[in-house]
């Protein structure tokens, strides 16, 4: 396995970073369902941190559920594609690109944009349905996960400069999840077998990113058989526990939900403590930028990141 440092050196360098830009870049904020409804503390963190990186999230009231790439897609793929295309139209009509804050939303919207670009017959079928509400999808809106947006638009130095208290004593394990990275030809984000982006983001907060041996294993959320579903989750949690991290950093509210609640259940089943408090990356960044643990709603987590709160939880 390549070391995180080597992987970062080999990372593609992109241009047009916010360092040299004077005005904030406006991007449509696709919030999805889980964050605004179940984990609004993550929405607070995103709204607070992005402007400091030169990005202005624009609210689009017409956005609905993406819809989700697991259950909805399993039920009716044609409707899934149509509903996703309607969301893309909402941004396209405003001349905006989209950023997502959930890997599931990213999967749905990216795949839709990809499928409708490569398959004209499918696009015509979807547009026939969209025409009923006066919409037509042309394919001009770019979809990016918030992590990819930052990779493309923000100089890593700008993130570090936004940090008012470096989280130097914090050890951060990372869970990438599946849908941020795969399928790589569509997501076009990072090497799914040796990703580096989250390590770079964590390091920008001053904290130390830590790899664990099951770092790219799926959490198992989509497995619709409960006993089997527990196994990948337990395997990831045991692997994280071994590296003795202070928090488990995720980039998707769905992964967060699985871990926050799942690790309590897993600890009971395994009859030992396999908990490592889960946290959404932008909550971590918000704290480094000076927000308090209360501001970013850490008290709402089932497994509370005690050490993070103790070290850096006060308002600055």
């Amino acid at each position: 396995m390549t070391s995180p440092e080597a992987a970062e050196t080999a990372a593609p360098q992109t241009t047009k970073k916010t360092k040299s830009r004077k005005e904030a870049v406006k991007v449509a904020f696709f919030r999805g369902c889980l964050i605004p409804v179940k984990y609004p503390q993550m929405e607070v963190a995103v709204r607070h941190t992005l402007p400091k990186l030169g990005i202005e999230p624009v609210d689009v009231p017409g956005f609905t559920c993406c819809p989700d790439p697991i259950y909805f897609k399993a039920t009716d793929k044609e409707s899934w594609l149509t509903m996703a295309a309607r969301n893309l139209c909402e941004a396209e009509e405003r001349g905006l690109d989209i950023f997502t804050v959930c890997s599931g939303c990213t999967a749905t919207l990216s795949e839709t944009s990809h499928l409708l670009a490569e398959n004209e017959e499918l696009r015509a079928r979807v547009n026939k349905r969209l025409a009923r509400v006066g919409k037509n999808y042309k394919g001009t809106t770019k979809v990016r996960h918030i992590v990819t947006l930052i990779r493309d638009l923000v100089d890593p130095a700008v993130i570090s400069e936004s940090v008012r208290r470096p989280l130097t004593d914090l050890r951060v394990a990372i869970h990438y999840g599946c849908h941020l990275l795969k399928p790589s030809p569509i997501m076009n984000v990072d090497d799914p077998d040796n990703p580096y982006m989250m390590e770079r983001l964590v390091r920008a907060t001053g904290a130390t990113p830590i790899r664990h041996k099951e770092w790219i294993l799926c959490c198992g959320k989509a497995i619709a058989k409960s006993e089997l579903k527990q196994k990948p989750m337990e395997t990831v949690l045991c692997s994280v526990k071994e590296v003795n991290a202070d928090v488990l950093c995720v980039i998707c509210p769905s992964c967060f939900g699985e871990f926050d609640f799942g690790q309590i259940k897993a600890s009971k089943r395994l009859e030992r403590d396999v908990t490592t408090p889960a946290i959404y990356y932008f909550q971590l960044l918000a704290i480094a930028q000076g927000m308090s643990a209360d501001d970013v709603g850490l008290s709402r987590h089932r497994v509370k990141p005690e050490r993070l709160i103790e070290l850096y939880g006060d308002p600055l």
């Binding site: 609004p40 559920c65 399993a74 793929k77 509400v133 795969k182 399928p183």
Partner: protein, 154 residues
């Protein structure tokens, strides 16, 4: 024993978006090695699912307790497939056929229906707006559910 192939079932699968990709599977097994479900349950094998679908063994796949619901939807097989035939998308197409037959596990279809009728996959409760207000967030917008009803008609 001679193998009988039911093309009828394959044609049915082809009616679902990307179900036709099945035809490109040459049974190499690259989808199996890194499959997280196969790792924890050796009875699950994406190559076997593709083979059964190629043979048109409808009863093995479109049934109560179908093996396809064990799929983790992680897209690793999509990543590994040298034929770019997206095994996971074929599995999703099979799930669509199962859902049409009323054979989806409890919760899957109601979850979808909630998104279709309310525009959100998660239920908004009275506590939702209160917590959002406490955190200084704007109220949730009314969603264009009428538009959804229109576009989701077949």
């Amino acid at each position: 024993m001679p193998v009988e192939i039911s093309f009828e079932f394959r044609e049915k699968l082809h009616t679902i978006i990307e179900g036709n990709l099945l035809s490109f599977c040459y049974q190499c097994g690259a989808c199996v090695g890194d499959c997280p479900t196969a790792r924890f349950d050796p009875t699950f094998n994406p190559r076997h699912i593709m083979l059964e679908a190629l043979y048109g063994l409808e009863k093995r796949l479109i049934c109560e307790d179908s093996p396809v619901w064990k799929c983790a939807n992680c897209y690793t097989c999509y990543e590994r497939c040298p034929q770019h035939m997206k095994p996971v998308e074929v599995i999703i197409a099979l799930k669509n056929l199962l859902a049409n037959e009323g054979l989806a596990p409890a919760g899957v279809v109601p979850h979808t229906d909630r998104s279709k009728t309310t525009g959100r996959s998660v239920l908004v409760t009275s506590a939702t707006e209160r917590i959002r207000a406490e955190l200084g967030l704007p109220p949730l917008p009314q969603l264009p559910v009428d538009e959804l009803t229109e576009i989701l008609k077949p």
